[in-house]
């Protein structure tokens, strides 16, 4: 009997067992990132809305402005939470899709997972560029 190995995907890159294990690892760690981030946003919002800003210091001897410490910006907290939730939504989608694709050997889900990872990296990259520029401005101001 002629025994030929007619691999339909000879020219495609294959994912071996090690790669699949690493993908499962990525999904697990990324899910931990998502859960801790969401918990962090909940804590931030709760802290911002529940605990009032308090004033430390009082007007003394002609000083007309009191000194306030611990004041929290509600707008800032909301913006931070919304942006963070959007970013982590894509990471969550990546985790779910990559887990499903490894379990079911589903090529379409693998592609969709990588697309979500790309969006996550893209948004994080752009925000990192903005933060890096801010740090650069801070540095320039210090020098």
């Amino acid at each position: 009997m002629e025994n030929t190995t007619g691999d339909l995907f000879d020219d495609e890159l294959k994912m071996d067992a090690t790669a699949k294990n690493h993908l499962k690892g990525i999904a697990t760690w990324a899910m931990i990132v998502v859960v801790t981030a969401v918990l962090g946003y909940i804590v931030t919002i709760a802290d911002t809305f529940l605990s009032p800003a308090y004033q430390v210091g009082r007007m003394r001897e002609g000083f007309t402005a009191s000194v306030a410490f611990g004041q929290k910006s509600m707008t800032g907290a909301i913006i931070q939470t919304v942006i963070g939730l959007i970013i982590h939504f894509f990471l969550y989608r990546f985790c779910v899709l990559i887990s499903q694709s490894v379990r079911a050997m589903d090529q379409d889900k693998t592609g969709a997972a990588f697309r979500n990872l790309k969006i996550y990296f893209a948004i994080t990259g752009v925000i990192s560029v903005i933060v890096a520029l801010a740090v650069l401005i801070l540095l320039a101001a210090m020098i």
Partner: protein, 156 residues
């Protein structure tokens, strides 16, 4: 007699669509890696500048009576905080860059081992951030609990 064909239908492959998506993710991973490394270096430099500025303030006001705080210690604390943040950014940047480079190489050369190595780097990237986020969350919770218990008697 019919040939006995073995096909890889039940194996996970990176087809043309997946390759495009993975290549884009790898490119953005490289961008993120490079920016994170630059930011890590900038943060370490900022820490050093903060410490030297605090030391200058400390020496300028060393003759004043009634000084109740040590700005030198504040500068050292600044250096430690900025230094830790910088090292974290550097580390995560290196992992992101490794993911980008290795995944791109795997797609270019059809190298399965390079692909696994790239995924390993991505796993390390997320592991670093997961650990950091758990630590930060705990610190925030400790801060809030400390603030809530401490502020009761401390208010004017």
């Amino acid at each position: 007699m019919e040939p006995n064909q073995t096909t890889s239908l039940f194996q996970l492959n990176v087809d043309a669509n997946n390759a495009y998506a993975l290549r884009s993710a790898a490119s953005w991973g490289k961008v993120l890696g490079v920016v994170s490394i630059i930011m890590g270096i900038l943060l370490v430099i900022t820490g050093i500048l903060v410490q030297s500025a605090a030391n200058d303030i400390s020496s300028d006001f060393s003759g004043y009576r009634g000084r109740t705080y040590d700005s030198g210690a504040l500068g050292r604390a600044g250096l430690i905080v900025y230094g830790i943040a910088g090292v974290i950014m550097l580390l995560s940047g290196v992992f992101a860059l490794n993911f980008g480079n290795r995944a791109s190489k795997a797609l270019r050369t059809n190298d399965t081992q390079a692909l696994a190595s790239g995924f390993s780097a991505a796993r390390n990237y997320f592991a670093v951030w997961a650990i950091i986020m758990i630590v930060l969350l705990l610190l925030v919770l400790i801060g809030i609990i400390g603030g809530a218990t401490g502020s009761g008697g401390g208010r004017f």
